[in-house]
Symmetry: C2
Subunit: 230 residues, 2 copies
Amino acid sequence: MTKSEVKLLGAWPSPFVMRARIALNIKSVSYEFLEETFQPKSPLLLDSNPVYKKVPVLINQDKPICESLIIVQYVDDVWSSGPSILPSEPYDRAIARFWATYLDDKWYPTLRSVRGAKGEDDRKKLITEVGEGLTLLEDALNKTSRGKDFFGGDQIGYLDIAFGCFLGWLRVTESLTGVKLLDQVKTPCLVKWAERFCAHGAVKDVMPQTEKLVEFAKMLMAKMAASTPN
Amino acid sequence: MTKSEVKLLGAWPSPFVMRARIALNIKSVSYEFLEETFQPKSPLLLDSNPVYKKVPVLINQDKPICESLIIVQYVDDVWSSGPSILPSEPYDRAIARFWATYLDDKWYPTLRSVRGAKGEDDRKKLITEVGEGLTLLEDALNKTSRGKDFFGGDQIGYLDIAFGCFLGWLRVTESLTGVKLLDQVKTPCLVKWAERFCAHGAVKDVMPQTEKLVEFAKMLMAKMAASTPN
C-alpha cells in the first residue's frame, strides 16, 4: 500500500474544506480525505495546525498548509494539471482577492449569525445585511465575468470557489428562516451562476445535500441551546 | 503638469497604508500620496472604496485596489522594477500568507485592544496574548529566514512588510503600558530583525516616529474617553 502524497484534513459540512476539495478537483489531484470528528481533535490536526487547530489542512509531501484561501492559491501554484484558478491579470487577481476577503470577513459571518439572532428584529436586520451583500456580489459578477458563465470567465476560478462553497449554508439559512435570499428578481445573475456552479464537475460531488446540512444545522442549534444557561 | 499615474490614498499613522508605501518603495515606483483627513472622508476615497471606505487605496491608471495585503501582492505582480516581494516557492508563499493573515486576524487586533482594556486584569491578559503571538513569530522568523536577515531571506518580503508595519504601534503600546514586548530575552531574533527592518531604505522614510504616534494615540484615547458615557 503506497502512502498517499496529498492528504486533506476536513469535515463534510465545512464550506472552507469544500474550497480545498474543489481546487484539488480542478487540478485533477488525487488525495486522501481524512474526515475529522473533533471528538477529540486528531493528533494530526493538532500537530499540523497548532495555531488554529482547524480544518482544512492540506498536507503535501508531509508539509501542512492551513487556511482555505491560502490552500486554494497554493494548489493553483503547485499543480498545472488543470486550468488556472487565479485570474491571469494582476488587477483581476486583486479584485477576486478583494471579494473573497469580503466574503470571509463580512458576508459569511453575517450569514452565520442569522442562526443565532436574538429575536425577530435582530434576525430581520441580519437578513437585510446578507441581502445587501448579495446585491454587491451580483454587481461584482456582472463586472468580472464579462458576460461569461463564472466570476472567473469561462472556467470556475478563485472567487467562484470562495463564494460557491457558501451556497449550501445559504440554502440552509433560506430553509430555516423561510426567506428566499438568492432571489430571481434581486439577484438573477447569481441565481443562474449558482446553478452552473453546483452542476460543475469539480463541485457536484463535494457539495453537500441541503437536507443533510439542514439536519446538521438543527443539531448544532440544539447543542447550542442546551449549553446556553437560562 | 502631468497627472500622476499612481496615487495612494492614505493616512500617516496607519500601519496598513505603510504596507503599500513600502511595497511601492521596494519597486521604486513614483506615486502621489494623498493624505486623508477623514473630516469628512474625501469623495475620491468614498468612490474608490465604497464597501469599506477605508485607506489604503492604491489607484493605478484610474483603477482602485483596496486592502493592504492585496495591494502589496498587486504591486509585486505589476512592477518588476525591484526584488520580488512574495517568496518564489509555493510552500514559502503559503507560509508567508499564513502568518500575514494571523497578524491581521488575531495578533494586531489583540495589540490594539490593549489600549482599550477594561481594568488591570484584562490589560495583563491581553499583553500576555500579544507576547505569546510574538513567541510564535520569533519561531516563524527562525524557520523562514533560514539564518538570513529577514523573513523573506536576504531582502525584505511579504511577511516582513505585513509584520514590520506594526512596529510603530507595538512601540506605542510599550510606551503607554511601560511593558517591554519585543524583548531581548524572549524574542532576541525579532529585536534584531526590527532594527534591520526600520533601517531599510524602503522603510525608514515611511516609518512614523514613535513619539509622534504616541501623541496621536493619546489624542485617540482622549477622544474615545470623551465619547464614552459615564
